[in-house]
């Protein structure tokens, strides 16, 4: 810290004077120093080496929820109880991945997605299970279409080429194959499109995650509340007071559209609630297997 810079300097100058006295020893010292220097350099080089050594970031796939025994069907069972017999509009095809991952003809085991009531859409050119959940992604973009969704204006074209589940060929492993669909939000490193090559198939399974339109990630909700609670300092107010705030979480965890949905009637209380959310952000990035680009949160604060 150079707590006393001047003292140090003076001390060093003393050293210097002493050094001149020992000048005759220097010659001897030089040899030793040179040797040590060589060793030090070699030592240093060895240590610096790792800096240059690359780590490959290989894209990995998201494991299907089923692999963990998630009874997804239950949730959806109540949902599509009225499966309109009419073929789900081809527009459902937009299924544009929120991320611009071009080389991802998602190979998916059609059967993998357990959409309970197999809609009697006999000749549908594609297995419903696969396409079904995806459309929710863009649909989820509430009100305000965010950049990511429209950024992919190609949706209409696929219908023609709409190949029933492009069973990606040339994949390693016997499994359906690792989609190039990497864990998203992995801006961290160069996304190796050479996914399953060297690294082989994933020991956790190679199917793409099924997509859950409902937000069931327990850890995320806990963390969200944890972060907000840490910033929440209720102003002096009577009991039985509550405000409802709404905001939207974007893929990377930052928020927008923060607003009061239902005022407490007390301006200070409303503002404190808004401030708590604002100060608590950014939140964690949305989970990789959650396909919607955003998450709308309604938060009741008492």
């Amino acid at each position: 810290m150079a707590r006393d810079a001047v003292d140090r300097v003076l001390a060093e100058r003393g050293h210097a004077a002493e050094r001149s006295r020992r000048a005759e020893m220097a010659a001897l010292g030089v040899a030793a120093v040179l040797h040590l220097g060589v060793v030090a350099v070699a030592f240093g080089l060895a240590h610096f080496k790792p800096h240059q050594e690359p780590i490959e970031f290989i894209s990995a796939q998201i494991v299907p929820a089923q692999a963990l025994g998630v009874e997804k069907p239950r949730k959806r069972a109540e949902a599509p109880p009225a499966p309109t017999p009419e073929p789900p509009e081809p527009a459902a095809e937009p299924a544009p991945e929120p991320e611009p991952e071009p080389p991802a003809p998602e190979p998916v085991k059609p059967a993998a997605k357990p959409v309970p009531p197999p809609v009697p859409t006999g000749p549908l050119p594609r297995p419903k299970g696969w396409n079904d959940p995806l459309p929710t992604a863009p649909a989820a973009v509430p009100a305000k279409p965010t950049a990511p969704a429209p950024a992919k204006p190609t949706p209409p074209t696929p219908p023609a080429a709409k190949p029933p589940t492009p069973a990606k060929p040339g994949n390693s492993g016997g499994a359906p194959g690792p989609g190039a669909e990497a864990a998203k939000g992995t801006e961290a490193g160069p996304r190796g499109s050479a996914a399953g090559t060297a690294a082989g198939t994933s020991p956790f399974g190679d199917r793409i995650a099924s997509i859950d339109p409902d937000f069931t990630y327990g850890y995320y909700i806990e963390q969200l509340l944890r972060q907000i609670d840490a910033k929440w300092t209720p102003p002096q107010a009577g009991t039985n007071i509550r405000t409802i705030v709404r905001f939207r979480i974007l893929r990377r965890g930052d928020i927008d559209q923060l607003d009061v949905a239902e005022s407490s009637g007390l301006n200070a209380f409303d503002l404190a609630a808004l401030r708590a959310v604002q100060n608590a952000s950014p939140f964690p990035p949305l989970p990789a297997s959650y396909r919607n680009p955003t998450l709308n949160v309604t938060l009741i604060v008492r």
Binding site: E89, P90, P156, L295
Partner: protein
Amino acid sequence: MTTRRFAALSLPLLALLGSALIRAQSPTSPPPSQPTAATPAPPSQPSEVTLELSRNQKAKIRLAIPKYAATGFTGAEGSAAGAELESTVRRDLDFSGYFEIQGPEQLSGLTLTGDLLRDRDVYRSTGNEVLLAGDLREDQGKVVFEGRLFDLKSGQSILAKRYRGSFATARRIGHTFADEVIRYLTGGAGFALSEIAYVSERGKIKEIWLMDYDGGNPRPLTGHRSTSMSPAWNLAGDGVAYTSFVNGPPGVYFAEVASGKKRPLVTSGSLNISPSFAPDGGRLAFSRSVGGNIEIFSSDTGGGNLRRLTQSAAIDTNPAWSPKGGTIAFTSSRAGNPQIYLMDEEGASQRRLTFEGSYNDGASWSPDGAEVAYATRRDGRFQIAVTNVVAQETRVLTSGPGENESPTFSPDGRKIAFTSRRSGTKQIYVIDAADGANVRQLTTAGSNDMADWSRPK
């Protein structure tokens, strides 16, 4: 008949296709999301969640980390790399303070089948929220690591990452993944890849050294075989400025981290010490001797465009440029004893920040620029204190003997590294910036001092 049925079915299909195309062609058409609204409505509005803020959140994320699967390791070197990677991730996450971790030891009481599908509820039974599953493999002389996070409530995957590198990169892979886990679970930036520059004295020679943030991988940056001190990272994190006596009078030098190349920055005059970079990297503040007194100057990084910032008869030294620019903290004895002061980048608006303690020195900014840490003498002993520059509230983080000094904030602002003599020799320790808890010793060999933590990247 079959053809008729087919025709009947395909007609509406075609119509829909057509309409979709038309809609898509129309420039004013709504975004592609619109048409899907017509499909069987999703259960509830997806991506909607309603929550109530409750007061009794568990403070930490409860994370289960069973032993990684390891396959294909042919030699001891690979196995050791795998083991190091695994322990690095564990230590990083532990140290971050965000998690309550149940590792293989704590999980040993559970009846696990090794099948994630069956074990989900078992992990949850001891309170875990998230599962970290790791898989290590050796592949053509390299280590391949795949790390995954699962939400145990929904069973959904949170994150999946795969890395591949030589055995020597095992630590770095571990650090990289740990940062990723922290980012995905907390939204905060990890700092497991950050580094600490410091002064290591070995055999009466003081060199600048670097180490990983956790004390691992210590290595010398300079080899002047002289006295070098006061390392200060540049903002890019690729170089360190420092003071050295290598050419006689103390001057400010710079060393590139990757190449080890050094060059003088400011060596004119009789004394230039204690450098600190401006956040834009274009300027440097340092102490310089003028007519026997030490004042604070700034210059461009080549030493040109010299500007004098302080004008007191007392000693003004140890400048620390605020991370967002605009302010420089420094030590001055103008009030009779050393205290921390603030001024703007031109030397204007000089004001005193610290009033408690008879000797305050060695200011270091928190990354958000809200706080300054420094060494303060209380009851005859040096301790680490932190003062908020706006509210001017101070907290003292250490106590007892040991001469605690030279603090520096971690890139995320949640930790402080500092020097202490509590073990007999000067060594570098880390504590929580909030309350001084979770003490961890980083160095053991030689005498080590003046840590400077690399800036957030």
